[in-house]
């Protein structure tokens, strides 16, 4: 009996959190869903799907598509740039390996807005690059306020999130597998493509999640480096809630973004499971 009582006593310890979570996690999301399903007519909330219909108008579909496209482009760029970094770090016995890893970690601790702001000072019209171009007699270039600048900002901010999980999965790899493959006659190309790469896939997948999700929802990078006219889904939500005060439409876009995120987390976790199985055989 004592056992049952003690379990009950322990379960009760979660009550404050559950009450808290209900008020500050469940209710706010329920409110957003409620607002998204209503329109205001003469100051009264009326049920309507008009907000969702509006979100699928071409102009807003374009915003959604641009967000996904830019996030995918930066994720791809992070893999291309980051995989070799993780690979070299894991393969080479540098005298100060921990220091090297530490160096890649430090920028992550820098305030996110400052990291983005730093590119503003480099790319702006009177910035470092244009000053240099003028100095060597070349015409100034408009580097800021376009999608390339936004992608650059995303890659700069999220690259460590790609390097670290890949590095972790490469470092954890069982070395005897590689020796076995070599003993069985695999050349180094086969060892990489059929052993190292598949075994590092969990790291790549979690890297993709950690880069794609913040990239697709950002509104700071696009706001600072893309300019006020540059609209991603995050900017659209911010605009609807804070600038034009259309909570209903903003809520509908938020719900769509939530569904997009849950769907991608779901897809990534399925792919992850597959790669785990595939990696073993």
């Amino acid at each position: 009996m004592a056992g049952k009582d003690s379990v009950l006593a322990r379960k009760r310890m979660a009550i404050p959190f559950l009450a808290w979570a209900f008020i500050f996690i469940v209710v706010p999301i329920a409110l957003v869903v409620y607002y998204s399903l209503c329109i205001e007519v003469d100051g009264v909330m009326v049920f309507s799907l008009a907000n969702y219909a509006r979100a699928f108008e071409p102009i807003y579909l374009k915003v959604l598509w641009r967000s996904v496209r830019l996030a995918l482009a930066s994720t791809a760029a992070c893999i291309i740039v980051g995989y070799p970094v993780a690979y070299i770090m894991a393969s080479k016995e540098y005298a100060q390996k921990n220091l090297l890893l530490f160096l890649f970690l430090v920028p992550m601790w820098m305030n996110f807005l400052l990291r983005t702001y730093s590119w503003l000072t480099i790319l702006e019209n009177n910035g470092l690059i244009n000053t240099f171009l003028a100095f060597i007699g070349l015409p100034k270039m408009s580097l800021l306020y376009n999608s390339q600048a936004v992608i650059l900002g995303m890659v700069y901010n999220f690259l460590p999130f790609m390097i670290l999980p890949i590095h972790t999965s490469l470092s954890k790899m069982d070395k005897s597998l590689i020796e076995a493959a070599e003993d069985l006659g695999a050349d180094s190309r086969q060892v990489f493509l059929r052993l190292v790469l598949p075994l590092s896939m969990p790291g790549v997948i979690s890297g993709i999640t950690m880069v794609f999700l913040p990239a697709v929802t950002t509104f700071i990078i696009s706001d600072l480096l893309g300019g006020a006219q540059f609209m991603l889904i995050g900017n659209l939500i911010e605009q609807q809630f804070l600038k034009v005060s259309n909570w209903n439409f903003g809520a509908a876009v938020s719900v769509i973004l939530m569904i997009l995120i849950i769907a991608s987390v779901g897809i990534f976790s399925i792919v992850d499971k597959d790669s785990d199985e595939g990696a073993l055989f």
Binding site: A2, S6, V7, R10, K11, M13, A14, I15, P16, F17, L18, W20, A21, F24, I25, P28, I29, L31, Y35, V81, I88, S91, K92, E93, L103, F104, P107, M110, N111, L113, L114, Y117, L120, T121, E124, N126, L128, Y156, L170, K175, I178, E182, D187, S188, V191, F192, V196, T217, F219, I220, I237, F241, G250, A251, S254, L257, M258, I261, I262, V265
Partner: protein
């Protein structure tokens, strides 16, 4: 053969024939990409000219202006106190919650964990607007209360608590459940059992959770942006509003200070870690 050697062999095709210097150059280039913007930021915080186009000589005047700016000092105060308070509250709610959830089974456990995961998976911007909607909705009925410091604090606890729970749960899973049972059978009250048996076992997880909550709060912009009221800023919000008006050398000075603070903090944490490891090694030698 070490893992590194094996991997080196395996990777020969990828960087076939490439000398070590090529690999080193690549790492160096990426590190330059990571650090150049930060270094440029810091260098220009000492520039007497407000323009980036020319170097107007060395000055510390931006730092002086920064130290005299009451809005920046207030924002710094808000950032630090909210990080400290919200992580302290999150540690209490989160640790007890983790113990409770760990004792649950079946549907209850799944539901509780799902709710815990919501603030982690949900985009910050959705967390931000949903809390804003809640606060504005509720504050309508409470005259005199406005969006501001208090709502900022509540929001930070709202997303911090999940990180504490997720840090403590793995520790609890590894713990022998019989220890707690034994303590109760020997006459300990549930509170004593928690404080004297469970808490010491999960302390490292609680510490990690506290650190995580503190840094998440320090670094947060999006949720704060939506849940604060006019006149109450943290550093992130202040930097955002300054940066939107263009490049400002005061932000450069601020970034230089924050970067140095981060470096010193990381160095101290590292130092205490390695001294702990050293102590552990010495203990091991003595014991054997």
């Amino acid at each position: 053969m070490s893992l590194a050697n094996a991997l080196k062999k395996a990777g020969r095709f990828l960087l076939a024939g490439l000398p070590t210097t090529a690999k080193k150059t690549y790492l160096a280039l990426i590190l330059i990409f990571m650090y150049a913007p930060i270094i440029i930021l810091i260098v220009f915080s000492f520039n007497a000219s407000k323009s980036r186009a020319n170097w107007g000589g060395f000055t510390l005047s931006w730092y002086v202006e920064l130290a005299k700016d009451p809005t920046i000092l207030k924002a710094l105060y808000n950032t630090l106190t909210i990080a400290a308070l919200s992580s302290a509250i999150a540690v209490v709610i989160g640790t007890t919650a983790a113990v409770g959830i760990d004792a649950m089974r079946g549907f209850m456990k799944k539901a509780a964990l799902a709710i815990t995961n919501i603030p982690v998976i949900n985009p910050d911007i959705v967390t931000g607007v949903s809390l804003m909607v809640l606060f504005i909705y509720v504050l309508k009925f409470i005259p005199g209360l406005k969006l501001g410091y208090f709502t900022l604090l509540l929001s930070h606890v709202a997303f911090n608590t999940s990180y504490v729970i997720l840090s403590v749960m793995p520790r609890l899973r590894r713990m022998d459940p019989n220890l707690y049972e034994a303590a109760l059978d020997l006459g300990a009250s549930p509170a004593q059992g928690f404080l004297k048996v469970i808490l010491p076992e999960i302390a490292p997880g609680v510490f990690t959770g506290a650190m995580l909550a503190f840094t998440m709060s320090l670094d947060d912009f999006v949720v704060s942006f939506f849940t604060t009221g006019s006149g109450v800023s943290n550093l992130s919000i202040l930097i955002y509003s300054m940066a939107r008006r263009g490049v400002n050398p005061k932000i450069n000075a601020l970034s230089a200070i924050m970067f140095m603070a981060v470096l010193i903090l990381l160095y101290l944490v590292n130092l205490s870690d390695s001294s702990k490891a050293k102590k552990a090694r010495e203990m091991g030698i003595r014991n054997s």
